[in-house]
Symmetry: C3
Subunit: 268 residues, 3 copies
């Protein structure tokens, strides 16, 4: 079976940078499936890139290789990494982009520095490691090279402070992490957290109190509501409208989940 | 030969939704060609999605599988469908998106409800059937599963009121259906209708009378004109300019074709 | 090994034109890798298309087939071409789009007119040769048809006046050719020209004098500087910012490289 190699960058699709990476990959490993996750990560926004990977990666089959390049530090001393995770391999810069996949426990995954010269393209430019370092490393892994051959083990990969919701006194507080094309607000509050609350809930965004529904169609036209989105996170949506505009919300806007019982309402 | 699976959505390419669908398809059927038709259908605009399919589908080889997701009713009672058409198969929501391919005559095609649990991903989210229902069904068809195994026959699929031009007293009246990247106006008037008029013709848009030419290059710089476009429809173009801006036209703007003989001009 | 067929157009990805081309290619040659270089060339901007090809093509393996369509003259008398270059083949309009690959010396490459009817789709529309003429020709080449069978040799392909930097009295003068997604200015001054100057250099853009650095990370936040970009051209960048906005630069803005020694400063 052909290996799957995904690409995630902040390069956009207007410039030929993504095509250069694909050219390098196909020059080394022709029998692959190339799949774009997204190339519209906001320029240099490492957290947004990490969120895109977190959302998409679990749906790919084991053995998939993920190249990701959101890399403001290209050409400086920051390392290049290969990260193993549940049978898949990530290749890219050591700047926190792979935070969701860096194991918390020993043995959960391994991290290697891209040090071996034989898996690079020469000369390695100082401004485009995606093409000269990460794409060739990924292509060699796609051909069967073990990630451990790419270089020495790394014990201290850079990790982002990953935004997780906080639970306190029966309330869950989080923030808006991302706004999608439809204007839906994707939050830092995970489905499992909401499900564990085991009572009727309401969701607060700004000064609005919203009900929790099962799907967009449970809302009436123009109504704002909260639901468990397809990515396993609490989302805020407006039916036939945009939640970002309708609620005046942006990335970072606080979101709170609480029991719908009135005694909690005083906490507003 | 690898099967071809196309994708048409209103998801855009910034969010990872399309990648999730491709991941699911490749997890089930690895030996496929994935081809994007468009992911920039205006959000929830079913008619625009149907037009994109109508324009692109006839160029694909028989046996192609088309997954399409413009799905404002996701999670409600609306059905999922598989539609067969001239050796190809469509998979997506039952909301009119496949109107151009729903046969008018018995035996012209078959429609099945996506009811069989074995061709889904579990759990099926209530907000993303593209990933959990349509992508896996399409992948199974790509692997050779007959569409009829996906569920029971549907006799009453939802159909859009499909915009067709009207002929009356030697005139043909239609509307602008779509404006493309170049500002060209794609109309509801089909090439065959124009060709059947068998006389010299003019085309009216708003208060402008335009001549019918063979290609963009037959116009002089800045001139507006009408021509039979590559999709088999009457189009309005401005050479080295945009017809939408130049003519003040938008989707829905009326367009009329009439003989160029002066006695018809009084009808303006 | 499957052949690689790339696509470069000004069609955008919202309309189904690119998908129609891919459909035609896959109908003729199924065992290919389709790679998008870019579809966001500014409409009808042949020079921008040529620059995208120049940047991307050298990274593809020999034998790659490049279809490119930026074609304001479609349907007029302009010819269709196949161009051979270092083992690769280009297919598209004869309007200068392949200027970087038209050999300067005898034997460096060959150019053929797309005249043979057997390698077209019928009917050939007068408005979309990308689909009806170029895509099928490329697909037949991908299946092994020699480019020379597509039609007679062309001795006088259209060439753009290609923007090259000028050297004079120890100074190099060029212009901004392209502004990328990050706001970086890509210039007409090539790496080899800069390296041949063999002294400390400064770069002038408008009334600003910038230092030449190795990579973005050598600049401090907000600082503008020049560097040899990944495409082998002098680029101007602003760290954590956009050079186009920061320097008031646009396509066509003059750029000059000179020794940093003070006696050259009087030339400003």
């Amino acid at each position: 079976l052909p290996a799957i190699v995904t690409l995630t960058t902040d390069f956009g699709l207007r410039d030929p940078y993504v095509a250069q990476m694909k050219a390098v990959i196909l020059g080394i490993a022709r029998d692959v499936h190339l799949v774009d996750i997204t190339h519209d990560v906001a320029p240099h926004d490492i957290a947004e890139g990490a969120l895109a990977l977190e959302a998409a990666v679990p749906y790919f089959p084991p053995g998939t290789i993920h190249v990701a390049v959101v890399d403001p530090g290209v050409g400086t001393a920051r390392r290049g990494l290969a990260v193993t995770w549940r049978g898949s391999v990530f290749v890219g810069p050591d700047n926190g982009l792979f935070t969701p996949f860096l194991g918390q426990r020993p043995g959960e995954g391994a991290v290697f520095e891209l040090a071996a010269a034989e898996f690079r393209c020469f000369p390695v430019s100082r401004t485009f490691h995606g093409r000269d370092l990460f794409a060739p490393a990924a292509a060699h892994v796609a051909r069967g090279v073990d990630a451990g051959r790419l270089g020495p083990t790394v014990d201290d990969p850079v990790r982002l402070a990953w935004p997780e919701a906080q639970e306190m006194e029966g309330l869950v507080s989080g923030t808006v992490l991302h706004i999608d094309r439809f204007g839906n607000l994707i939050t830092s509050i995970r489905a499992a957290t909401v499900e564990a609350m085991r009572t009727d809930l309401v969701v607060e965004v700004g000064d609005r109190i919203l009900r929790l529904v099962g799907t967009y169609g449970d809302l009436v036209g123009g109504e704002a509501g909260a639901l468990i989105g397809s990515g396993g996170r609490l989302e805020i949506a407006v039916r036939d409208g945009r939640a970002d505009a309708g609620l005046g919300a942006a990335r970072g806007t606080p979101v709170r989940v609480s029991p719908s019982s009135p005694r909690f309402r005083t906490s507003l």
